[in-house]
Each structure stands twice: as C-alpha cells, then as structure tokens.
Amino acid sequence: MRKRLLAMATLTVLVFAACNSSGTGGSGAPGGTGAAGGGCLVGVSWNNYDQERWKKADEPAIKKAIEAGGGTYTSTDAHDASEQQNKDIDTLINKGVKVIILLAKDAASITPAVTKAEQAGIQIIGYDRLIEDEKALYITFNNKRVGTIMAQELLAVQPTGNYAIIKGDPGDANAKFLRDGMDEGGLKAAVDSGKVKIVGEQNTPNWDTTGAKNEMQAILNANNNKVDAVLSENDGMATGVSQALQAVGLNIPLSGQDGDAAALNRVALGQQTVSVWKNAFALGETAGNAAIQMCAGTKLADVKAPSDLPDASKPADLASHPFTTPGGKTVTSFILNPTPIKKDNLSAVIDSGWVTKDQVCAKVTPGSVTPC
C-alpha cells in the first residue's frame, strides 16, 4: 500500500514537472511574462508549438513586432488539444493580457473561451486559422491563391499536355480551396480549350507522402508514363511524387507548397518547378504589429498592416478588409499573399532565415543557381 502511494506521488511530481517545463517552453526568454513593464501585454495561444514552423518563424516575428512597439510577449501551448486551449485562454486572461493572438485548434470549440476573453475586455486576433467571431481580427494567407499560383507557374512552363493532380486529404477544406484556385489560375480554361488534359486526379488521405507516391505510380502506369506536369498540393506529397517520377526517368514540371527545405533543394536541383511559400515572418509581423495598434486603442477597422512587409507577401493595400466566413459572418481581416519560390528567387527564403544555404544547396552543382 505504502509502495503504491509512493509510486503515485512520484508520478504526480513527474507529471507536474513535465507540464511546467512545456508550459514555460513557449515564453522562454527572461522577462517573457509579467506585465510589470506597463506596456501592452500580448498573449499568444499556440495550438501545436512543437511543429517547427512556429518556433522558427512566427514566434520571433510576433515577438519582435510586439517589443518594437514597447509591448511584452507571453504564450501558452495547447499541445494540439482544443480542451487544453480553452484552459490556456483562461490562463492568459488571468495573466492580464490586453490582446490574444489565437492559433485555434478548432474554430467551433474555442468559442466559449473567446467570448469569455472578450467579456474581460480582451481583443482577439485569429491567427492563420479562422475563428467565427465578428469582433476578432483575422490574419491569414490567401489559401485559394496558393492553388492559383501553382497552376499559373506550371502552365507557364508547360502550357499543353497531360496533367496529373495529387490533392490533399479529402476531408480537409484546404485541399478543395487549392483545387479551386488551380482552376482560377488558368487550369480550367486550358482544359476547356483542349490544351491540357487531366489524366489523373486523386485525393491523398492525411496528405501522406507514401500514399502520394503510390498514386503517382498508378497514374504513370495507367498512362504509359505520358504525363507532362504534376500539380501536387504540398511539398510533402511532392517528395513522394518526385521519387516516383525519377524512378521512371521523368523530369517534368512539379508544384508544391510550404517551402519545405527538401522541396527548396529540389527547386535548386531542377526537380521541382515551384514551392509556394507562405512567409510566416510576414504573418507574424502583421499580427504583432496589429496587436500593438489594438492595445493603443485603434479601432479594428482602422488597424493597418505594417508597411515594411516583403513585397511578395504584402496585400493589395495596407487597410483591413471585410471577409465573409463560411459561417456567414463578416470579420475584419488582413489576407497576405503567398510567395512562389522558384529557381530565380531562392535567395529570398535563405535571406529571411527560413532555411539555410546548406539545406537548399545540398548536392547542387555550385554556380548552377544563384545562391549556390
């Protein structure tokens, strides 16, 4: 009996230790918490901080913009659990934040916490993912446009011929946005005019790499390898597709998105045409900057996007615009543009600190592309 009690006590201590360490992991730097400075305290509620992107790009950019405006940054991480995220918002409210930047795990289940925060006089920024709330500011990328750019870039190098389309998870709304974007980018027109024929189109459950490779093999075999271009909806699947193409000696135009280091390396090697990159530094800067403006009492409709954003990411103008949500609500929003990364602008991703030169230039013949 005593032994079991001891074991349980030890376990409890361990669990608390683990929670603590992961809880502080987000804020990290000394002075990260505590509103004592008198400036604006901005809290970020991460959904899944363990994914590389947030740590590498979004967080430093948000932090920099907040600190530049005299504010203080603090954060929580929900470990990909919507229930935990509701608790995290409580924590941030109790810490006395003025603005919450929210990367929501689930748009619907976070609503109670959002309402609670707003009742406490806290303003909300829906970051990267939509929350159905008219009082919130929504900052994201134009996802449909990612598909548009993919189609445009591939059609520019391969205006005619057989196209294969490897789409993402059938249950992910994004996969459909991307596909619609492709049609807007000229794919539908090219198909209608008979210049382009779609010889294979398949959804990939879970955006799985090996699944995408298997689908590509089936499409290649069904068409005697007569495929002229492949629209892959992201870089992970493009990794599988690229290998299926190389295995039969094909080097044809191929798209992707996310700016994965491996994909950028393929762009440098000439094995992938384009990786559409969402510049997370720009997204973070916009959010941090907006939070400071909101803290200073600027009305939501008058909040402006920062003027020093990279040209490629900058929206058409710096003013916010109304955005109609799938739920029929109108929210104030900044919609940033994704950036096509091709052979000629690889330096952009290296200069911004997104990837290193070594990652992009692995196995590339020196001098064959600009940064290598």
Binding site: D50, Q51, E52, R53, P170, G200, E201, Q202, N203, T204, P205, N206, W207, D208, T209, T210, K213, N214, E215, Q217, A218, I219, N221, A222, N225, D235, G236, T239, G240, S242, Q243, Q246, A247, V248, G249, L250, N251, D260, A261, A262, A263, N265, D358, A362, K363
Partner: protein, 433 residues
Amino acid sequence: MTSSVATSEHETGSLRDRVMDLVRATEIDGRLLGMIVTLIGIEIGFGLYTGGSILSPVNLLTFATQAVQIAIIATGMVLVIVSRNIDLSVGSVLGVVAMTYAVLMHEVFPTTIGVDTPYGWLIALGAGLLIGIILGAIQGFLIAYMKIPSFVVTLGGLLAFRGLVFDISGGSTQAPDDTQFVVLGGGPLGSLGGTISWAFGAVIIVAIALYLYYNRRQRRRFGFPVRPMWAEVGIGVVGLLIVVGGVAISNAYHWPAGLIEQYAAQHGISPEGLVIEAGVPWPAVILLAVTLVMTFLATKRKFGRYVYAIGGNPEAAELGGINTRWTIMKIYILMGILCAISAAISSAQINGATNDLGNGYELLVISAAVIGGTSFAGGVGTIPGAVLGAIVIYALRYNLQYIGLPSNNQDIVIAVVLIAAVAFDTYSRRNAT
C-alpha cells in the same frame, strides 16, 4: 491419380470431399489457397474491366513493391498475435528508424564522412537496425518482464516514437538519401536486371528441390508420414512455375524511355532500339528472404514452437518449462529488426524521410496478418499467409487507383472485398469440418 490420395474412409465421399482431400494431401494451408484464389480473382476481374491493360508486368511489379513494407512487418506481427499480444507501435518505430537513416545521410554524413560514400549507407543501415532493436527491446521488456499489457505499452510506443520522429528531424522533411541506398526501394534502377534475375531464379529452384528432397528424407528417417509422391512433384512443379513466371514477368518490364535516354547519354551510346530488362526488384528479393527466414524461425526452430505453444496455452507453456518472458521479449526485438528493414525500403522509395512516414501502418500490418489467417484467439497463424494478405490489400488499392476511383470509394471497395474474402473462408471451413 485421385485414387492414390483417397486412401481414407472418404473414398465414397462427394466431389467436394475429394477436392478437400487433394488439398490436404499437399499439406497446403486452406486459408493460403483462399488468398491465392482471391488474388487471382482480383486480377482477372480488373483485367476484364480494363481490357487486359492492368495485367501488364509493370502494374504487377508496382503493387507487389508497394506491399513490401507492410508484408515484412506482418511476418513478425503474426508471431506477436499468435503469442496473444499486439504491437501498435510498428508505424512509429518505422518512422524513427527511417528518419534516422535520412538524417544520417542528409545531415550527418555530408559534414563527416561525405555524401554517397560506398559504405555510408551501410553505416546508416547498421545504426537504424540498432535503434530498431533497442526500441523493440524496451517494449518487449515492459511487456514480458513488467507484465504491462502489450496494448498499453505499444500504444505508448505509437505516440512516443512518433514524437521522437519530430525531435530527430527537427520537424522538417529530410531528403535526399545516398544514391546507393535508394536502390533498396525498387523501380527499374532498384532491380536485379535481366541476367541476374534468371540466375537468382535458378538458385531458388535448386533450393526448392533440395528442400523437398531433404524434408522427405528426414520424415522417412523419423518414421513420419510423407506426402504422396505426386504431391511432392506437384509442389515442386508449381514452385518452378511460380519462380519462372515471376522472373519472366519481372524481365518483361523494360526500362522506360526517360531512363533509357539518361543511360544512353551517360554511356555515350544511341538510345535507339536500346532495351534493358528491369528484372526482379530489390524489395521483392528482401521480402522473399525475410519470409523464408521468418518461416524457418517459426516452424523449424525452438523459438517458433515456443511462440505457438504460448499462444495455444500460456499457463501450460510456462509450466512446461518454456521461458515465456524471454520468448516474448525476443518477439518484440524481432519486430524492431523487421521495422528497421521495412524503414529502409520506405525511406528509399521516397528518397528521404518525412515526419509522416509509417503513419497508420499498424492497422495495415495487423489487417494483413489477420486476413492471412492469424487468429486473435492466439496460437494460430502463418507467415506466408500474412505476406499474401498484404499483397491482396495492395493489389486492390493499386488497381482501384489505376482505374481512377476516388480514394474514399476505394476504401469502401477494399472493405467489402476483404470482409467477403474472410467470410467465404470462414464459411467454407465451418462446412468442411
């Protein structure tokens, strides 16, 4: 011919009984035969639907190669389930090992021993194998010696090792692998080539003949009943036909135009009229080797007999003096090794490693084993059955992709066919006894 078999009291039985007797005389597992019939049925069905185009060598080779990762792990899953345990961690273990291979070849080697060295890929393989053994041993220890249910331990493994993948990769895709390593993934460049494939086939045929001869002699020596001579010869001939057919199909697939052009350019020759036979893909060779070794371990070694004894009745096995704990732990170490082998093929097939590699494999592997005749009640299951189970799943998936059915409807068709196949088997067995 029939009369020589029907020596039993079934002499006057129906045609059905006579067929069953024939099968029984060859000592071939009924479920195995069912799987083969299902596979042939699938291929004939799709062959008719596509006007025969789906039966071309490249299609058969493609799905066979796609099934290999699942089939390899399924050979071990049979033993896990036979011993009344489960392993949910296989996909994550595969993920960890595959990521280790890719990180070593992509990040570590370039700054240490260099890219594409002749031995680099072997170092990577060795390291991956070691990690597989360690992860398997940890889980095996917790299950066998700490008596924690295998479902819980390997569920923990499923979660924890997937987390570990992100730690090893730093969250991003690691690619490419060394060029020698990619050969393990198959495809025209990862195959034996025409001549070596025939030599490989010849070795196997000789091995089959020797095995049949040796087995018959041993049985005679110890006074065990032997198969009737016609059955021995029949099995030999069928084996011969399968090997010759397999090699012939593999060699009938020729390098595609793009590769021929690359090859011709590299060697300064004209691509006109150049034909290169692909031959047996490396993953198929590896799967064959794994299946043989695993079948040998399961049926001819003490280890295998212990596993089946534990599955049949754990208490009796323990009382009978079997070191059940060590046996169980060995099964999980074996699983680690199989996952590492499978990881090499997975990583080679996409030339690198993504964080999702191996995701969801646990269900596919368990399905392959169960469809192939492994019983959750313990004690029953064969390794060749599990391999065939994996091949049937991928044959269906690939053929449905080939005809362009949307992925959600593929799932529906696969589900219906698999349940029907197992239901038919269950039904015919119940009626047979």
